[in-house]
């Protein structure tokens, strides 16, 4: 089988750099009758081949909107992108013609979602849905496309793939459905895979299997992986680098070991401290006081200042600059140096 998937898997071709994706100063707003929700306020991020970037954040932090903007699946309107660039191998996705963008979506940048059951069409066999990728994008005939579907189902470890290629989504368990989604996502050998909370709906023993599969496939195909999650445990297990998001901005960006060992932002510190730990048994958990901000009424200055123990006057008036704390380690905090020193 010499499809594109096997041939291109190893090293970059001449003329291709390692930098796959570069997001610059991205802003996303949602316009509604109640007003404007500022979901993303100036996000910068980048992703290289073979790299796993985790985007960590709580609900409303903008992590999923960032992913949807990169994938080009935001509903516009109500979403508006007033500023910013999303460069995929140097070409700005936001200024591309719809036709070109469609060719990138799914084939070059693919995505898997939290809820596999509602992402699959219940009235078509799963094999047919995977094969559709090859018919639409590669122009394969029915039997070749079906053979590809079986190969992919085997790749993601679905037992008895040949027999089950004609089964419907409801005939699979949650873990199996997520594997099928992964098979569809990697079908066309994308360079970038975005996984939005891929294991949140799964049981813990199944989550471990699915995360292993993602890791394996990423190494095998040398993809850049963006993992959107709220789970500090999953991140520690799989990511190379982390971007911590809060209130639509990236608060801290660092290599994974650096971030857990020397968090340089009060929000990151608070998150790490609120995990229940063994030696804290019987004591009060550390809790970040207050609530995440409303996107409609973003606080002035630093979005975290109403909940921050370090907050001074400057935090209420000015958005903090990015402070470099070390190689590949940046924190958007006026007092980053003090915070990282503890």
């Amino acid at each position: 089988m010499t499809t594109s998937m096997d041939s291109r898997a190893d090293r970059p071709r001449p003329g291709e750099t390692d930098r796959l994706l570069e997001v610059k100063d991205l802003h996303v707003e949602f316009h509604s009758r109640e007003g404007v929700a500022h979901a993303i306020n100036g996000v910068d991020l980048h992703l290289d081949r073979g790299e796993t970037l985790a985007v960590l954040g709580e609900s409303g932090s903008g992590k999923s909107v960032t992913a949807q903007a990169i994938m080009g699946i935001l509903d516009m309107p109500p979403a508006v992108i007033p500023r910013g660039q999303i460069l995929f191998q140097g070409r700005d996705l936001l200024t591309m013609k719809p036709r070109e963008r469609r060719a990138v979506r799914g084939a070059e940048i693919a995505m898997i979602f939290q809820d596999a059951l509602s992402s699959l069409n219940p009235v078509f066999p799963v094999g047919w849905q995977i094969a559709e990728m090859f018919r639409q994008h590669r122009g394969l005939n029915r039997s070749d496309a079906k053979a590809q579907a079986i190969r992919l189902m085997e790749l993601v470890n679905i037992p008895a793939a040949k027999e089950r290629v004609n089964a419907y989504p409801h005939q699979f368990s949650g873990g199996m459905r997520q594997r099928i989604m992964i098979a569809m996502a990697v079908a066309l050998d994308p360079k970038v895979l975005i996984a939005d909370e891929p294991t949140t709906a799964l049981d813990v023993t199944v989550q471990a299997q699915v995360m292993d599969l993602l890791k394996e496939l990423q190494a095998q195909f040398h993809m850049g992986l963006i993992l959107i999650t709220h789970d500090l445990g999953v991140v520690a297990d799989i990511a190379d680098r982390i971007n911590v998001m809060y209130g639509g901005s990236i608060m801290e960006s660092a290599d994974v070991r650096d971030l857990y060992a020397h968090p340089g932002h009060p929000y990151t510190q608070g998150l790490l401290d609120s995990i229940p730990r063994l030696d804290m048994k019987g004591q009060e958990l550390y809790a970040i006081k207050g609530l995440p901000p409303s996107l409609m009424r973003m606080p002035s200055g630093c979005p975290f200042h109403p909940r921050c123990a370090h907050a001074q006057d400057v935090c209420r008036s000015e958005f903090p600059p990015r402070v470099e704390l070390g190689p590949r380690h940046e924190s958007a905090c006026h007092f980053a140096q003090e915070v990282v020193r503890g």
């Binding site: 709580e58 609900s59 368990s173 949650g174 873990g175 199996m176 049981d203 813990v204 023993t205 199944v206 989550q207 471990a208 299997q209 995360m211 292993d212 709220h230 789970d231 500090l232 445990g233 999953v234 991140v235 520690a236 297990d237 990511a239 994974v256 070991r257 857990y260 060992a261 608070g270 998150l271 790490l272 609120s274 995990i275 229940p276 063994l278 804290m280 048994k281 019987g282 009060e284 958990l285 550390y286 809790a287 970040i288 006081k289 609530l291 995440p292």
Partner: protein, 354 residues
């Protein structure tokens, strides 16, 4: 009933060994019929809960963990008698709750209350906080005199860390964490002895989850409540529970103190479950011994024969597919650590990983 603010305030949260047993579940079983065909005849049963027995002591927290379909939520509803049992007894205050008539049951239910997982759907959006938290008083009018209700609701709000001025607001004006506090305030409104919490913090963000857990622990200290804390998050359960029951496909497979379950697990499933939890420490990557189970949890409509875990167990032998292992005591301490496995010794020795 004792005044909640002035009663038992023990600051030592650990040992409840001497506390009296207030709830005793014996062989609780629940089968749901599966209807099929044109005549809607019963074609089979979902065995949601099978022979579940445990004691709950006053003031302690019993954690119940397990994956989807293990029966933990059914168990929670059975403890409230929101479901009628297929078999078994539930002893509270010396009587079997399942033998009580409607009126007597309603009176007993004052002592056993429940908090649900989803603070977005378990609160009626058309009612104010005053109505929502005060609702139990409509069912039990003798609990608080009508004139004192508003005052009492404000007390409860303060107790769970909500501002009493917000008494006339509606649920949508609160965040998820605040809504769960409303649910908890409603749960403790009648001064229950037992609060069943079904995934109370699962829908909340990490930073807010810690706030709600702290509120629950404080309330337990101040009011002497016993919790049945049902959750799938093993680290949260470890933090809050005194004892833990691990469930798999409708059965308790292991029961012990928090320390016994997490530090000295004897059932292969418990070990696999614990090892599958991602550790929030990148330095642990690749260093810990991970047990990777194959496949998914089988369907409770058609559970495997013998030991229900045998289809995914790396220790399984012939006997496991024919004989159901009993929940027996393990000799490693006070004799309350129990697990249901034919090959516990091998499992404990730790050398036999897949």
């Amino acid at each position: 009933m004792a005044d909640p603010t002035g009663s038992t305030t023990s600051t030592a949260p650990t040992s409840h060994d001497d506390a009296p047993v207030i709830l005793r579940a014996q062989n609780l079983t629940k089968h749901y019929p599966i209807k099929g065909g044109v005549l809607r005849r019963t074609v089979g049963h979902v065995r949601a809960l099978e022979d579940v027995s445990f004691d709950l002591r006053a003031g302690e927290t019993l954690g119940v963990v397990g994956e989807s379909g293990c029966g933990k939520s059914t168990l929670g509803r059975m403890l409230m008698r929101l479901e009628e049992p297929t078999g078994g007894r539930l002893e509270f205050d010396g009587v079997d709750l399942y033998s009580l008539g409607r009126r007597e049951m309603r009176r007993k239910r004052r002592d056993i209350q429940i908090v649900f997982q989803d603070p977005y759907t378990s609160l009626n959006p058309r009612k104010t906080v005053a109505d929502l938290i005060g609702e139990p008083f409509d069912v039990h009018p003798d609990a608080v005199p009508r004139a004192g209700r508003r005052r009492r609701v404000q007390e409860l709000m303060e107790l769970v860390g909500l501002s009493p001025e917000h008494i006339n607001r509606y649920p949508h004006q609160f965040s998820g964490g605040q809504r769960q506090r409303i649910g908890i305030a409603r749960g403790i409104a009648l001064n229950p002895k037992i609060l069943v919490c079904d995934e109370p913090v699962s829908a909340l963000d990490v930073s807010v989850q810690a706030q709600v857990i702290n509120v629950m622990e404080r309330l337990q200290r101040e009011l002497g409540l016993a919790y049945v804390f049902i959750a799938h998050d093993l680290s949260v359960v470890r933090h809050i529970a005194d004892r833990v029951a691990v469930m798999y496909l409708g059965r308790i497979v292991e029961l012990g103190t928090e320390d016994e379950i997490y530090e000295r697990p004897t059932h292969p499933y418990t070990r696999a479950l614990l090892s599958a939890v991602p550790v929030p420490d990148p330095l642990a990557r690749g260093t810990r011994q991970e047990i990777k189970l194959q496949g998914d949890v089988p369907s409770p409509a058609n559970p495997p024969s013998g030991c229900r875990f045998h289809t995914r167990c790396w220790l399984a032998r012939d006997v496991c597919s024919t004989d159901e292992p009993q929940l027996v005591e393990r000799n490693d301490g006070r004799g309350e650590h129990r697990s249901a496995c034919h090959f516990t010794e091998e499992s404990v020795s730790g050398r036999t990983t897949p």
